[in-house]
Amino acid sequence: MKLNGAKFIVLAIMLLMITSLPFSSARPYWVKPGVYVEYAAMRYDPYIQYQLSQGYSTEQRTAFLVYLSHNASYRIYAYNDTYLKFTILEEIDGYLTVGVHIDMSNVTVKVTVPTGENLSPIWEQNEVIKVETIPTPGNSGTLEYKVYLSSLRIKGVYRIRESDGAVFSLDGTHYGHTFLWIDTDPGLAPQENKTFVVFPTLNWTMKVERVSVRDKPSKTYYGKFGPPVATLSLLGSPLVMEGLVEFTTQTPGGLRYDPATGMVLSPTTLSILISPDLAAIGIPFASFMDERVAYEQMVKGNPMWAGLLPLYDTNAEFQRAEEVPFSKAKTPWKYAFWGSLVLLGSIMTAKGWRKSK
């Protein structure tokens, strides 16, 4: 095949464009070992006082977790500030290892143990305020413990595949796409009806219902993001974990993120959180209620906050991404670029000279 002048120019330009594109990856540039992202659901007294003024005497909780550990199901209720911290520990063979700390205070744990079996504590002994046994129906063959704790930390480790954001527990079970970031690359961005959360043992999935973008900023404890900000809505069939959580309607999910960086500003806009990142460490269901957000959003009607578990802190350097030090003189691509321009110019000049003859 012969290349005439025009074809050669088009080919040269295309090659230049391709070689100057950065390699695309599902992992945003700010995701790297050492980076942490922390979310918080805080207690807020004006919200509690408002609830009391309305006649609601039930205690307001900031978090509820179903935690599967030691072959038992723990129900964890937290009534004071709750923090979820995800730290990227290392990067090995295309997988990120992520450590999770969930720190809660003023906590009640309920766990049912078969009669005759020992209680397996998930708490430190010095955190225990008191332990009660709750009378259970006569022939159930179980004993329920109610443990009051000053504080409780749940720890876990899981992995995320860098190429597509897939979450795996350490035993290799796949739970869906991470809730730590949303892909900003148009080719990898969430598409309608794409599976996003998977519970393989229950044969249950939650899919993307839609992505909506609003031209308004969103507030977090860390700072303001946007505009615009985006909301990812998820929908699944009724999730039924018998005896633990039983949906009677479809199961919803909603998270809010910054479309510029992919950073998730709140992993839940609906209080419930069914996320691969928590499922991979034994928490298939959780519910969070930041009471300041609840007060602003549901009492005052101010929709400024990102969600009910807003971003609290991070050391990610996503806001100054364009200022990454870059030595132009040392990069070989610079020479390739100028070299190809010189080559192109010479060819065109030569062709022009031949034509003029």
Partner: protein, 106 residues
């Protein structure tokens, strides 16, 4: 404004009289909460020993349902509902969502 939640924990069953032998009675306990846009209902069926109602009882069923009030329907909101069953009760929770903003309303 809060999530409509109906809770039944630590059932209170009142003794109906004295009996030399075990005499079983049945009852149901329920709770209903309705806020501006949503409602939640919880019901537990109990079979109990009339002489030892606090210690000798069985839960025969647990039901929890929820939905939107007329105001919630008129506002165009959507709802979701789930139950958290307990060894001696149930928590019935309704989530009211604004489908435009994607935010929790109640």
């Amino acid at each position: 404004m809060k999530k409509p939640v109906a809770i039944l924990f630590g059932l209170l069953v009142v003794a109906a009289g004295f009996a030399a032998a075990t005499t079983w009675a049945v009852t149901e306990v329920h709770d209903y909460t309705s806020i501006k846009y949503g409602w939640a209902y919880a019901e537990v069926g109990v079979k109990y020993d009339v002489s030892n109602p606090y210690t000798n009882y069985e839960i025969t069923y647990r039901i929890g349902t929820g939905g939107l009030t007329k105001t919630g329907k008129d506002a165009g909101y959507t709802y979701f509902h789930y139950n958290i069953p307990d060894s001696n009760g149930i928590e019935s929770v309704t989530i009211v969502k604004n489908p435009i903003t994607g935010n929790l309303v109640e």
